[in-house]
């Protein structure tokens, strides 16, 4: 048994258990903190899979930036659990849970994975082989950052720029919505 494998299994188990812990917390801040722990564990797993850039980006972007804003707002409101509404499980949530179980079964069992990779085999990719995009690596396989950058700015430049345009539109949209609210509030007061 090599150390990487043991570490990977331990991290995976911890992440799974902590995800369960996260959705059962009553305090929003506790849930957010557990989520950060899960994200850090995921980053560790990426790191063990030699995806160093993904690991660093996971922590910098999700745990270090997005979650800070979430935690900031939660702390600012600082609502105790009594003031938050907790209801029973609705039908919609039941459907979502069953969908989640279905996805877990498909992705988590060999039969399910076989079904997913069936189509790929006919296209010439066998399971366990290097994925399609990795066939056109621009740099050595361990040059993570360079390969990500090359793929992003050479192969998928248009898709990348379009997505950034979409995000810009979303930012402007959110500013417009926020402005409208504050203007209405000012009129009301």
């Amino acid at each position: 048994m090599d150390l990487n494998f043991i570490a990977f299994v331990v991290m995976g188990l911890a992440a799974t258990i902590l995800s369960g812990v996260m959705i059962t917390r009553r305090w929003p801040v506790s849930a957010a903190m557990v989520l950060i722990a899960v994200m850090t564990l995921l980053a560790g797993m990426f790191g063990l899979l030699e995806a160093h850039f993904a690991a660093a980006a996971q922590i910098i972007v999700y745990a270090g930036a997005i979650m800070v804003v979430f935690v900031f707002v939660m702390m600012l409101l600082n609502l105790p659990p009594e003031e938050l509404r907790y209801g029973g499980v609705t039908w919609g949530e039941m459907v979502l849970i069953s969908l989640g179980v279905l996805v877990a079964i498909v992705l988590g069992t060999q039969v399910g994975q076989g079904l997913l990779t069936q189509g790929l085999e006919s296209m010439g990719y066998a399971p366990g082989q290097t994925p399609a995009h990795a066939k056109s690596l621009y740099f050595a396989a361990d040059e993570n950052v360079k390969n990500v950058a090359a793929t992003m700015f050479v192969d998928y430049l248009w898709a990348f720029e379009l997505v950034s345009f979409l995000i810009l539109a979303a930012v402007i949209g959110s500013i417009v919505i926020a402005k409208k609210r504050s203007a209405e509030n000012a009129n009301a007061a």
């Binding site: 150390l3 305090w27 801040v29 506790s30 903190m33 950060i36 850090t40 980053a43 790191g47 030699e50 160093h52 850039f53 690991a55 660093a56 980006a57 922590i59 910098i60 745990a63 270090g64 930036a65 800070v68 804003v69 935690v71 900031f72 702390m75 600012l76 600082n78 361990d142 040059e143 993570n144 950052v145």
Partner: protein, 379 residues
């Protein structure tokens, strides 16, 4: 007896990677743990000099006074034996967790610093950077980004309005300055063409302007250096950016409910983070463990006739480590000097410095240097 030695040698030979990794981590931990006590002493002495006092100069070791260097030890013993107090209304779990988070992240972050050039032991080359990821110094950024949670959690869990305000201020401040910090280092990435600190340091061992200046990042991109040093102060919550503590308005901010060893864990983490960021500045802008005009490779070549081939790399690395620590000490001293020289910013001033001045300046710097580097690559 010889059998035991044989077994040990064999074990070391087959597990050299693991043993070396543990050794490097231990070395970095020892350095990080020494930073806090020494810096406390330096800070108190320097404060005293600036304020025309004497400062702690009495406590020594074994009858020697040593300029009061025994003071941190006495302080630690005092802190350890103080009453461990948890406020009644505090969220006990997070109240206890917060200082641990700060200290652990400080101690983990330092592992990303290349301590010296690689050494050769028994034919195995050992890279002296404990955590050497392909993503390079992004690891340090990730750890520095996580550092905010210790402060934010402390503020929230203390159940104290001053503490909460301190925690909120800290998180807003750290997000704001992280952007300028990343943009300040971006030019260095495309000037050296790598994220890896060791490659950067190797590139800085050359000379610039026909050998007058060492090829240091500070000469290649001075604006980046200035912005990075300013944001470094903000990221570590040090004066003039210590709005999170701000004794004058927030009592002590997120630290207000903390005492004894828990309080000093915050200090440990803060100093470890200061050291890590100072060492990062050294590696990116001041040539890391390289002596100016004398690269490590040349040093090893010089030392090889005196010692034999392998011990020469050890001596060179030791010299390199000393050089790194000396350069880092300059920044640590700058932290202390700034703390007792500059007044604190107001919060709106802090935000204006970050968003209105530093961020656009860093962006312009990136664009200009990108154009220059692009043109130089073309010709």
């Amino acid at each position: 007896m010889e059998g035991t030695v044989g077994v040990v040698t064999q074990f070391l030979d087959s597990n050299i990677g693991l043993v070396a990794a543990l050794g490097k981590i231990a070395l970095a931990l020892v350095i990080a743990l020494q930073v806090a006590p020494i810096m406390v002493w330096v800070e108190r002495r320097q404060a005293a000099f600036i304020q025309r006092r004497i400062g702690p100069n009495r406590v020594g070791l074994f009858g020697f006074k040593l300029f009061g260097l025994g003071q941190p030890l006495a302080d630690t013993i005092k802190l350890l034996f103080k009453e461990d107090f948890v406020p009644k209304q505090a969220n006990k779990f997070f109240y206890i967790l917060a200082p641990i988070v700060t200290a652990v992240i400080g101690l983990v972050a330092i592992q990303g610093i290349p301590l010296a050039k690689e050494i050769v032991v028994g034919g195995h080359t050992i890279n002296m950077q404990p955590v050497n990821l392909n993503a390079g110094f992004l690891y340090l950024f990730a750890m520095s980004a996580l550092g905010v949670y210790g402060v934010a959690l402390a503020g929230w869990s203390s159940n104290n309005k001053y503490a909460l305000l301190g925690g909120l201020r800290a998180s807003a401040q750290m997000i704001s300055y992280e952007i300028a910090m990343g943009l300040a280092l971006l030019p260095m990435v495309f000037i050296y063409g790598t994220l890896d600190l060791q490659t950067m340091i190797a590139a800085q061992s050359d000379s610039l302007l026909f050998g007058v200046l060492p090829n240091w990042g500070i000469f290649l991109s001075p604006i980046s250096f200035v912005i990075f040093v300013i944001t470094m102060f903000a990221e570590t919550n040090r004066l003039p950016f210590d709005l999170a503590e701000g004794e004058a308005e927030l009592v002590a901010g997120f630290l207000v409910e903390y005492g004894s060893m828990r309080w000093s864990l915050f200090f440990l983490g803060e100093y470890a983070m200061m050291f890590t960021l100072s060492a990062l500045t050294t590696c990116v802008f001041l040539g890391g463990y390289e002596i100016p005009w004398l690269s490590q490779t040349e040093l090893v070549a010089l030392l090889t006739p005196i010692f034999s081939a392998e011990p020469a790399t050890w001596v060179a690395s030791l010299i390199g480590l000393t050089v790194l620590l000396a350069k880092t000490a300059i920044f640590m001293f700058l932290f202390v000097q700034a703390r007792f020289t500059l007044p604190r910013f107001r919060y709106d001033q802090l935000m204006r410095v970050g968003w209105v001045y530093l961020l656009p300046l860093a962006l312009v710097n990136v664009v200009v240097l990108a154009l220059i580097v692009g043109i130089m690559r073309l010709t």
